[in-house]
Structures are given as C-alpha cells and as structure tokens.
C-alpha cells in the first residue's frame, strides 16, 4: 500500500508533541488561526483600488492567504486596506469605518497617497492616513504591483501571528488610540 503525503497548509507553531497529542500556547494557536483567516475590508478610492482588483482576481489570487471573503462591512472585517488618495473630506468617513471595526483590527496603507499624500501635496488632500488612524503596514508604490500588495499582506500576517493576546489591553496600545482620539 502506498501512502500519499499531504503537504501541510501551515507550519505548526512550536510546541510539545507526542502520541496523539500536541500542546502549544493559546497565543500561538490563536495567532495561527487568525493569520490564515484575515478578512480584509477594501477601502478603495482611486487607481490603487484598480490594482487591488487585479490582486483579488484569479491570476494573483489574493484568496490564497485566507482572505477569501473581502468584507464590505467593517463589522466583520479584520484588516482595513486603504487604497488611494484620501481627501480631507473623506477623512471622517474613513475614521468612522475604522472605529466600527471590532478588535483586533489591522490597517494596511496601500500606495503613496494613502501612506504620505503622494503627489497630491495640496490643501484638499490628507497627507497620509496615519494622521487620523494608526497604520500597521505601508506598501509603497504608485500604484504598487500586486506582488507588493501580497507582500504587504504577508507582513500583516506576520504581525497577526506574532501579536500577543494581551497587546490590545496594554497601556501603550490605549495611548496609541488616545493619540488619534479613538476610544
């Protein structure tokens, strides 16, 4: 009888293994589960959004990384992906969307405009979304190629996997949110 070896989809976290059991810490088990089930909320305002659509499509297949379901409601989203120029008038709606997301939540700024204002150094454009909400990962480019977006998502996956379960209760994290005026 031949045995077929099934490749594992995810590396098991470090832990203790024996006959019929595997033990690891809760942090690591939850980190692993979260890492491969990040539901992104695409907040697309311009050309980076078009590039993201290519990233979501069959060729680059964003869903491979567990992001099968782009969540168009902030209530069920884990990752806010801000793609494109954010005008100052769009600032309050963006902040509202971030506030409506449940913890734990992450933010990815895609492209030069979302990261720094890009070429739009003008009175009407927000000079980077980190003026109003905290950002975890910045993806440079104008617009970034899908490979860069995927790399950015993998950096978010690293953050998600390694984040301590206590981080969101820490005084540092609360101070960070307070800096942005978010409860």
């Amino acid at each position: 009888m031949t045995t077929i070896k099934i490749p594992s989809l995810a590396e098991a976290p470090p832990g203790y293994e024996g006959h019929g059991f595997f033990a690891t810490s809760l942090d690591r088990a939850i980190g692993l589960a979260r890492k491969y089930s990040i539901w992104p909320l695409p907040f697309a305002t311009s050309c980076c959004g078009i590039e993201f659509m290519a990233t979501m499509g069959a060729h680059y297949d964003f869903a491979r990384f567990g992001s099968e379901r782009p969540s168009f409601s902030p209530r069920q989203a884990d990752l806010l992906m801000v793609m494109g120029t954010i005008a100052k008038k769009m600032g309050p709606p963006l902040k509202q969307v971030y506030i409506q997301m449940a913890e734990p939540r992450w933010v990815l700024a895609m492209g030069a405009c979302a990261s720094s204002g890009g070429i739009f150094d003008t009175y009407s454009v927000l000079q980077g979304i980190d003026e109003i909400i905290p950002v975890d990962v910045y993806v440079p480019g104008c617009p970034p190629r899908p490979e860069q977006v995927i790399d950015g998502l993998m950096r978010v996956q690293d953050l998600v996997q390694n984040e301590s379960l206590r981080r969101r209760h820490s005084p540092e994290y609360k101070a960070l949110l307070a800096k942005y005026g978010i409860e």
């Binding site: 100052k88 008038k89 720094s116 009407s124 454009v125 000079q127």
Partner: protein, 170 residues
C-alpha cells in the same frame, strides 16, 4: 440658424442699461462677445438677456470667480457664460467685486443650476451671494477656515517633511 450678431446684443444692452455696461469687446481667440457690467445690475442684465425675444440667452453654461490680486478694489472677477441654444450663440458677462466686500446678488432665481455653481464660488473664493437659499461649502470640508483659491494661500498643504529641495538640487 444664423447666429446673433454682436452689434445687435451691444446695442440692445446699452439702450437698456446705458453707462452700467462698462465695456463690450470681442475676445480675439474664439470671437466671443465679452460684456462687463456694473455688479449692482448683474441680475437685471441676465434677466434682460433671458427675456428678450431676439436674444434668449436662457442657458447658463457656467458661473465662476477669478482672483486678480493686482487689481485694486476689483480683485474678484465674476464670470457668467451664457448660451442661446436656438441660435447657438455664446456670450460672457463679467463683473468685478472688491475683495474687502465680495457681495453680489444670487442668480438662483433665474437659473436653478446657479445654486451649486455659486456654492462652489463661495467655497473657493468667498464670494457672498445675497439671497442664495443654501450658501455653504460644497466641495471642501466644512471645517475649512479659508478660501483656498485666493492667491494669497499656497497650493501646498505645508506639512510634508519628505520634500527636501536640497535632495533634488533645487
């Protein structure tokens, strides 16, 4: 159909408004008649052009402000682009306002489309349209505390730290 001749328009306007028509000239590039009027009688002028049986300028293509800081007491220029759709004739009506008191009557009673255009002129230049039903900002964020298209304000946001000119040899 035959276009309306420029002398006919100027004759009719000067006969009606006399010295309140400050100048009439044909703009050289597109041969459009440009008429400058006294700001106090702008709405009367638009109404006359609208109602006159031969003129019938009943379509407001656009309405906007321009800022000329070097012109004393007439810094804000208001421009009305009118179109006669039957005879396909276009004219420009201009009027000047001092920046210390940029007030002018609203054209919304004559053209409904002037509503948003006047809000835009208010938003960017601070022109006050007397009698406008809803004069508030239309494009910029409500908390903005200046009129960004006036020439004394810079285009740039001014908070960027990544645009160090020495790095680009400027």
């Amino acid at each position: 159909m035959e276009k309306i001749s420029h002398p006919l328009i100027t004759e009719k306007l000067t006969a009606r408004f006399g010295s309140d028509i400050l100048s009439t000239e044909e703009e050289p590039l597109y041969k459009v008649l440009v008429i400058t009027v006294n700001p106090a009688r702008i709405i009367e002028t638009l109404k006359f052009l609208y109602d006159d049986k031969e003129l019938q300028f009943q379509f407001l293509t656009s309405l906007f402000a321009v800022h000329y800081p070097e012109r004393k007491n007439e810094e804000i220029e208001m421009v009305y682009l009118l179109h006669n759709l039957w005879k396909n004739t276009r004219i420009r009506i201009k009027t000047y306002l001092p920046i210390s008191n940029p007030e002018i009557d609203t054209a919304t009673n004559l053209f409904s489309t002037a509503n948003w255009m006047e809000r835009e002129a208010y938003d960017f230049f601070g022109v006050i349209f007397k009698g406008h039903p809803n004069l508030k900002r239309i494009l910029n964020i409500d908390s903005m505390d200046y009129f960004p298209m006036r020439k004394e304000y810079p285009l740039e946001e001014g908070t960027r730290r990544d645009k160090d000119d020495t790095m680009f040899g400027r």
